[in-house]
Amino acid sequence: MLSYVGRRLVHLIPVLLGMVFIVFMMIRAIPGNPAQVILGQQATAEAVAAMNVKLGLDQPWYIQFFKYLGGVLQGNLGESMRTRLPVADEIWPHLAATMELAFFAILIAIVIGINAGIVSAWFQNSWFDYIAMVLALVGVSMPIFWLGLLGQWTFAIEFSWLPTTGREPVRDPVNAITHLYIIDTLIQGRFDQFFEVVRHLILPGAALATIPMAIIARMTRSSMLEVLRSDYIRTARAKGQKMFWVVYKHAFKNAAIPILTIIGLQMGMLLGGAILTETIFAWPGIGRYIYEAISFRDYPVIQSGILVVAFIFVMINLIVDLLYGLIDSRIKYD
């Protein structure tokens, strides 16, 4: 087991290195000069040239690349060209905001998605099955922009149940310690604020959950259908076991592997930041952080931002692979 984890971690190195290289080349291939963007339309040509030298953009690309790589290996993610702050300092609050939202969204997606999938498979071709699967199709194809604004209009304006945007009550801001506000408010014993933070999570969380929820529901359904047809299920039922336990205990356990894979992939995606959701709900997450860096051609932020996201993505996949063993004891790591 440990040697398996070790080997997987070693395999990460070329993956991340390749990724850093590709991102590095890609952002330099798109036109637009960071110095010009930072200095604005007013800037003179000399000012832009001076800025280029200061940012090290006058050097050949391979020198820039190895300088950046050397920094990363020493744990230095570079400095934002625009705000002149270390990326490592800037990135955490944004990442924390995205993590909080992503975990909340995946929780909604798992609870509703899996149950909808199981029930659909159990009562295949029933009205519930049809409705759930049509909703799943709608969920995958619904534009988040539209869904988000509709949610704001309904739940924030018409019913005044939930806030429209942001992650904290703006007139009573959370005192950030870990930047995970759910934890911060609990540490400080501010249960009123904790409740507010959860309320702020509901709308963006639900909007973000629609796609993974639909995908999980469909995957659960098809995986369950396959298992429910197998002999041991018939045996269990013949023994007189209650159908509920047959489905939720015996069948689900064997259907879980592909569902887990999908959840892992979706979770990785959500943690990469959901630019649209973060924009509509003014969520200060990593997706918006990187997106804004792209429009400012802020190379260090783009590179390091994507590096961090990619790292999380592969780590989640590793965790999922390890979870297989917990669910299915036939899977061994050696």
């Binding site: 007013q42 924030a156 149940w161 945007t165 409740f195």
Partner: protein, 528 residues
């Protein structure tokens, strides 16, 4: 009750409790606390040191933390007293500023002549990548030939003398720009990086907290020198990037004031009894630039034909919802020197066709039409405006293909002269004609802001003369003549001067939007 029945009932009760709790909370948060104003805007600031940036979101905040020696008028760019209560010059070379006494910085140190000198020293000893605006407004830095400022000296505690190497007509306007705000020397001497996140000025509000991409919080400065101001205790700037979401937040009562309102939402806001629509005086121009180095736009008649072919009125009515005026000159009428005698090119496809024939393009030609990829006050929907222009051009036989790129790429390629015709615009910095005409159309700015590569020797001489002409009347005459040349040569199709829209809850009073886009909030009050 049997075991089976208990569960649904319990679930129902739980749902009821939860929903009533949620509803109760909703009401609480939508009530405003009277002394805190939340200002919703599209983006975050990059820095809180106004001298180091060029981007408007920064100035929106710093104009309330810092003050300048001179101020702009409440809703125009006339020169008014600021930290200097009086100023005079006899020859346009030596300016004397008499400072207000008893003014304190937020860190408790005194504002005086020495502090002013130290601020100017800091900028003059910098370089173009540290102080980009100082470079472009004052022609460089200490030791540079183009640097306009000869010396800045203190005469006693409350008098500052600024000597210029040569007269600079918009000098006082430059001094009033929010980037040349006077900061506490104690604060900036700690180093730039420390200072730009801990601003210390003399303004009505002092800095409290900055959460990146989220909020910037300011608080009333108790020792503010103007008695009775500011009226609010707290101001919070909140970034909500999407225009519709920002409006939703305003309707829900989470924010009190929102900028960047879509023209299409204007009517709905006026009909809402809890909201008010606020119009910012226009200081911008949206235009279609024609790159004069590219065929067939090197031909003046073709450019004039383009001007006659485009139906500006339809564009303004459809996409600006009427919240704009038709442009005929490259600057808005509120700027001194605007030539109102010029008759704009009328929408006249027949005449356009004649001009094309005269130029030798009877059958028209093919071209690329660049559509702006981002909404700006002067161009709310580039893609749709491009479609109208495309169909207008088709009427006279020109086949325009609409292309677009992401914003930095668009600007980069356009500045290299790679576009046939491109949409762009400009919002003025200091309300001076030079800041529009010279910056956007002079040969000195080819490769930076003169994207059309237009060049005219006569016009260039007029601009250079106007830059040092201190007599306002003579200066206006120079700019009027330059606008005639521009009109005849037609390197642009000027489209619109738009009125940017804001909205506020009814309880907001005393808010006066400024044409520069940086609004002073000292007089704002919030009533329940």
């Amino acid at each position: 009750m049997s075991k089976k029945r208990v569960w649904p009932v319990a679930l129902l009760v739980l749902l009821l409790v939860l929903s009533s709790a949620l509803a109760g909370c909703g009401k609480k948060s939508s009530g405003n606390s009277g002394d805190t104003l939340v200002f919703g805007r599209g983006g975050d600031s990059t820095s809180l040191d106004p001298s180091r940036v060029t981007e408007g979101e920064t100035f929106k905040v710093t104009v309330n933390v810092y003050e300048t020696l001179l101020n702009f008028g409440e809703q125009d760019t006339s020169i008014q007293p600021g930290l200097a209560k009086e100023w005079k010059t006899d020859d346009g070379l030596t300016y004397t500023f008499i400072l207000e006494e008893g003014v304190k910085f937020h860190d408790g140190t005194d504002f005086n002549a020495e502090a002013v000198v130290k601020n100017f020293e800091r900028w003059a000893n910098g370089d173009a990548d540290r102080f980009p605006y100082y470079n472009s407004m004052f022609g460089g830095f200490k030791g540079d030939e183009g640097h306009v400022i000869e010396s800045v000296v203190a005469e006693g505690d409350y008098t500052v003398l600024i000597k210029l190497k040569r007269p600079q007509a918009p000098f006082l306007k430059n001094i009033a720009m929010s980037m040349f705000a006077i900061a506490s020397p104690d604060a900036f001497e700690k180093g730039d990086d420390q200072f730009e996140r801990n601003p210390v000025g003399t303004g009505p509000f002092k800095f409290v907290e900055w959460k990146a991409n989220e909020t910037i919080t300011l608080e009333k400065f108790g020792d503010y020198w103007q008695k009775g101001l500011p009226k609010l205790n707290k101001v919070i700037f909140k970034s909500i990037p999407d225009n519709s979401a920002r409006l939703n937040a305003l309707i829900a009562g989470e924010i009190d004031l929102a900028d960047g309102i879509n023209p299409a939402d204007g009517e709905m806001i006026e009909d809402n009894k809890d909201l008010q629509l606020i119009k910012r005086p226009s200081m911008n121009v949206g235009y279609l630039g024609l790159t004069v180095t590219r065929e067939p736009f090197n031909n003046k008649e073709v450019r004039q034909a383009m001007n006659h072919a485009i139906d500006k009125e339809t564009i303004i009515n459809s996409f600006f919802e009427g919240q704009a005026n038709i442009a005929k000159n490259p600057m808005p009428p509120s700027i001194f020197g605007y030539n109102d005698d010029i008759e704009g090119y009328a929408y006249d496809p027949k005449k356009a066709k004649e001009l094309l024939t005269k130029a030798g393009y009877t059958d028209g030609f093919e071209m690329e039409l660049w559509a702006m990829p981002v909404p700006r006050p002067y161009m709310p929907d580039g893609a749709k405006v491009a479609e109208v222009i495309q169909s207008n051009l088709a009427d006279i036989g020109i086949k325009a293909k609409i292309v677009t790129y992401d914003w930095p790429t668009y600007l980069d390629k356009a500045s290299k002269g790679e576009a046939d015709a491109f949409m762009l615009g400009w919002t003025g910095d200091n309300g001076d004609a030079d800041n529009f005409l010279y910056v956007l159309l002079d040969e000195d700015n080819i490769g930076s802001n003169n994207y059309t590569y237009f060049k005219n020797d006569k016009m260039h001489d007029l601009f250079i003369e106007a830059q040092t002409e201190v007599d306002e009347k003579k200066r206006i005459a120079l700019y009027e003549e330059a606008q005639e040349i521009i009109h005849d040569e037609a390197p642009w199709v000027p489209l619109a001067h738009s009125t940017p829209l804001l909205a506020a809850s009814k309880g907001v009073t005393g808010f006066v939007p400024h044409p520069t886009g940086s609004d002073l909030l000292a007089n704002v009050e919030l009533k329940k």
